[in-house]
Symmetry: C2
Subunit: 128 residues, 2 copies
DNA sequence: TCAAACAGGGATAAATTTATCCTTATTGCA
DNA sequence: TGCAATAAGGATAAATTTATCCCTGTTTGA
């Protein structure tokens, strides 16, 4: 496991939130678990763009941050289920508001995101 | 400027939001601008942990994503002001809910964040 | 008997992000 | 004169995150 060399910033709420939510797939991992996708193979199918190794790593981090619980059923073939902790559930309204915001603005978002793949842009205003 | 090699994932709202909000300092940059810190030197003072170069880069990205506007006043010494666009302003309630969540849970958050700096943890449940 | 599903980790590489250091240019102030 | 403040970018290094590939072991189904 990778150990960070630079200490985290913990100056305000947004810092704290960033520490546990920062990760390419974390928003959606939490959301899909919330939706009832409990097994890692289900999550992988939901997020085919995500490498399964990375999914596991981020699941571990979420577990370590007490947002999800990992339950192992000692059967063969192995069965493991991920669920939100009570703490993790308190995040759902927040994720929901993020998702809702993005869906309301999805056209503009897609535009600006896709734009910087090629052409340059400059919204700079000069003078006034 | 760095050009990404892997295409963005744009499958759902949370993806879209991630694309524009992903960045170590972006939550707070937006928040501090919202609070009236318009100049980059002010932002640097607010976030001394952030390298000023990186702050500039992230400001450019936010600008490119139409969340902030950069206004240059052609005076000497140079004066540049960042403000939220109308689009950027729609994010404020979202950021507010993130920050509020984290502040409500700041004790637990600090605990779990600081824990993984050293000791290991394992919340795994076996069987049931 | 062979492949697939299941969960996950080791080793390693690639991609990306963040950080450091230095440079430009102008004005006001000590 | 010389330094601070102002904004920001180039070159480069370091840190971190994400991705690839392969391997373990067991069971069910073709």
């Amino acid at each position: 496991m990778y150990i960070n060399k630079t200490p985290p910033s913990l100056n305000c709420g947004l810092d704290l939130a960033g520490e546990v939510l920062y990760g390419k797939w974390k928003f959606r991992i939490l959301w899909f678990i919330h939706q009832g996708n409990k097994r890692s193979s289900e999550l992988q199918r939901k997020m085919p763009d995500a490498n399964s190794r990375v999914l596991n790593i981020q699941l571990r981090e979420l577990e370590c941050h007490e947002l999800v619980i990992r339950t192992i059923y000692p059967v063969m073939p192995p069965k493991v289920e991920y669920t939100l902790t009570d703490f993790g559930k308190t995040l759902i309204p927040v994720l929901s508001s993020i998702g809702k915001w993005a869906e309301e603005h999805q056209n503009q978002l897609k535009e600006v995101i896709l734009r910087d793949l090629s052409g340059s842009s400059d919204n700079t205003h000069i003078d006034k």
